[in-house]
């Protein structure tokens, strides 16, 4: 089995900030999540200290708005997706006390709808992804009491499908990314008993295709990002042994650009920080030697989560 070329990936992530190519320009609106993916990958590989924390912090605070929410980059609008990423970055750096937690919590609780669901921002797009963002973020801030958690859980339950999976909204098809969001939110809310573990576990382990990779829905191509979405869900419901871990490990390693660093969706495709993070995080869940363990629900290193909740 090939190896994870950690030094290459570290160099790749460090180089991202200096790029001036079109891809970088096209993704500037989600830089907050990009930063979270890059920094978490660095932490899992044990190289977080090589990033310029001070510069990141200065930039991060420039992205906070009067509402309390964070935007994906300076000059863009606030959104719950980037508010979670910002809080996760602060958690990585043990800097959660540097923000006005009440204000961030107020922004998020203001997005909860009558039926318990969450909008992504003031424009009202509702999706269970945002339920995860809200619950994960407020839990990290220890402000879950600011929302109606019972209703939030009920809404997620209403998105459960015939195959045990979850969709974006009631009636939405099961999708591994969405399943992570719903299972993760239920795990953090202490409501995993709502999940039909055997039914969902079987559906999830059927995502593994002969190449060893995982797809996100039946009859679809495998993609490294599902190494995280599927795997973390399987870990949370204790069914991860139902897949072939060695084959998946091999698939992720095959998606590396061993020359220039970074990981792609499938072997020989172009790399990006999103798939680099999901590849590294997936390998961490597979207990790849040399990587630090990641928490399947909060998507942060285990020691970061334990520091927040047990100290």
């Amino acid at each position: 089995m090939g190896e994870l070329t950690i030094t290459k990936h570290v160099e790749y992530i460090k180089s991202l900030d200096k790029r001036k190519d079109l891809e970088t320009a096209l993704t500037e609106h989600l830089r907050m999540s990009g930063a979270y993916w890059g920094l978490t990958s660095m932490d899992l590989m044990g190289h977080l200290s090589e990033m310029d924390k001070e510069a990141i912090m200065v930039w991060l605070f420039k992205c906070q708005h009067d509402s309390g929410g964070f935007s994906g980059n300076v000059d863009h609008d606030p959104h719950i997706l980037y508010t979670l990423s910002a809080v996760q970055i602060l958690a990585l750096y043990d800097e959660l006390d540097a923000i006005d937690k009440e204000k961030v919590a107020a922004y998020i609780s203001g997005l909860q709808q009558e039926d318990g669901s969450f909008a992504g921002d003031e424009w009202g797009e509702v999706d269970t992804r945002f339920s995860y963002c809200a619950i994960c973020c407020l839990s990290l801030l220890k402000r879950l009491d600011k929302i109606n958690i019972r209703k939030a859980v009920e809404y997620i339950a209403s998105c459960k499908n015939f195959d045990g999976g979850f969709g974006c909204n009631p009636g939405g098809e099961s999708h591994a990314g969405q399943i992570f969001c719903c299972v993760g939110a239920l795990a953090i809310a202490g409501a995993l008993d709502l999940v039909d573990k055997d039914l969902l576990g079987w559906w999830l382990c059927e995502r593994q295709v002969p190449s060893g990779g995982l797809n996100g829905r039946p009859e679809k191509l495998p993609d490294v990002c599902y190494s995280w979405w599927v795997l973390s869900s399987l870990v949370m419901i204790d069914r991860v042994h139902w897949i072939n871990k060695d084959k998946l490990k091999q698939f992720i390693l095959d998606c590396q650009d061993k020359e220039h660093g970074g990981i792609s969706d499938r072997p020989e495709d172009a790399v990006d920080v999103f798939h680099t993070y999901f590849g590294v995080a997936g390998l961490s869940l597979l207990e790849y030697e040399g990587l630090r363990p990641i928490d399947p629900a909060y998507a942060l290193p285990v020691d970061v989560v334990d520091r927040i909740f047990y100290s």
Partner: protein, 679 residues
Amino acid sequence: MHGRPRVTQTCDPARQKHEEEKAAKFQALLRQVLHNHRHRIFSKEALLQNAKLLELNPELYTAWNYRKVAVTHLLESQLDEAIRKSIVDNELEVVERALMRNYKSYGAWHHRKWVLHFGLSNLDKEYRLLDKLLTSDARNFHGWAYRRFLAGISKATEEQELQYTIKKINENFSNYSAWHSRSTLLSKQLQNNIIEKDTWLKVLTEEYDLVQQAFFTEPDDQSGWFYLLWLLSQTVFPSRPFVTGFWPPNGHSNLFDPNVPSMANCNILIFFSLPVCGVNSETVSMSSSSEGLNSEFKVSWISITDDSQFSKGWRAELTDCNKCLEAGMSLTLNVQVGAKPGITSRHGPLLGVHNLTVNIELGSSSCSAPEKHYSRITWPEECKQTSKFEDSPNDIFGCPSLPLQRHLEPLSEWQEKTLTNQINTCRELLELENDSKWAMLMLARLLVAYDQFASSSEHGMDEVQQLYKRLLEVDPTHQYYYNEQLSLIRFHQITVDLHESSEHFWRSDQTQNLWVRFNHLSLSKLGYFERLTGVQNLDLSKNKLQSLEGIEMLQFLVNLDVSNNHLTSITALRPVSHLPKLQALNIKWNEIGKHMIDKNRYLFPTVLNNSAKKHLKNNLNKEEGPVHWEVYEIFGRMLVLRQLDIHGNPISENEAFRSNLLLAVPSLVWLDAENVSTE
């Protein structure tokens, strides 16, 4: 990047320059649009710049926000209906161009829905456009979501939408999205009482016929099989909970002895098929016909998993029995589960009402009070003694027979016919496609379902075992799953007639304890715990267990041996921490401490999921090196644990762990071979 081939990065400088220029141009346009947004500039030019930008990158959510602000502003000052309509139509065109660039753009789809809410658009046109999209990409879940949205605002009936799913399924049997949609629409019709219960059976029968065509056409395609699995769950497994067992068994006695702490309270246990809440003295009535006593008992019910609202097991403690009874007297209680409505699972209320009779006797039990000085027990595996148990197995369970009762409703004629049909269909398919994994798996599940409800048990189990063994060969990727199914069948076979042979019973020479031994059987999954309720000493050593889920049902366990298994973390012992009488636990030679990832971390309440009790957190001893919070969360609950054998796990070498453990479990006397009592 999704689906984009990797290009060598050492491209020529000219190309790189060209790329950087493109990026700079895009950047300039983006800055301009963001500037217009910040300064609320809604000129024609500004809107055009924005549209151009979104065509280049539909993912720019702030640019969509700008359009919403602008459109709201423009519509506010415009009363002319034709102009208002043209403003809205223009937005739909912008979205259309954006979707052509990326039809998976969340922002673009949301903008379209937002625009439609003005009620100025032609919905037929929307349906036509959508149909085009779902023809070119039949699985696009944004498209399907948009169809649900349109159905909502155009008040389409479920029947119309069901027709559409049929159309898509007939175009391609492996359209999972369409099957999914069908299950949702049918469930909704059932829930809203549009389909009556009798019609539902007819509907299900038709669905079976439909899906059969699918898997006969494409036996390797998952879509039809997952749908069939759902139909099966609608046919035999009620989502409503039912009672699976009682302790003591119906008509049997419950001895108590106020002089023996472990027997001072009378326990009544009820087990359900699904976790339920709402078990209390209202929903479970208890009355006594004996004279001179209060005819109505008030007792408190607690869930055996004390920290969750929903539980499969509930325990009543009758604490004031000694006030009611004098030595030699006995009391007969009539218990009715479901006397009043209120017991419910996450999915529905209790099925039926269940009655049982319990005798309570004030006994002089044969058990003696626990010794002050606890002597280390020897585990069965460590004993040289080979003789097996020769007494009556009844002694094991403290009652004349094992509480094995089938509380399930027998199959209806329709169910029986449906299951038989499906079993035959799968067998037919297997004759055509010998190695069809899905046909084998489905047949195995159908046979298990049939066996569970059939009046004569066992006839299909050999076939099921054969099927899973073949699946192990055909689909080795899922070997753990198939082995777990085999383990469950094995465990079912062992426990179903347990009281009829003494094969698994053993009496210790040292302590005279009666043991039930299921050691060395390659078990990887357990079940049917309600059959073992009264067991006090259980040997599960030398198996392949990764999980002890369900063992909390064995509320009378005193000694438990799970050494030489595959338990991977302290948190895997969570079910054990619900055993109130557990004194000795053997977890030697497992894998605790070997793994970085804890897959049980979220399966029970802790501060990680905002539901742990505060005192545990306060107990953490930070001065004792790295904190093992699991020690407090798990071992800290084993209040009468006297002996823990943990040697052979990587964590047992850890000094911080050991010192945390001693703090967490003050009752502990023996840790491996070491006497750790402070007295």
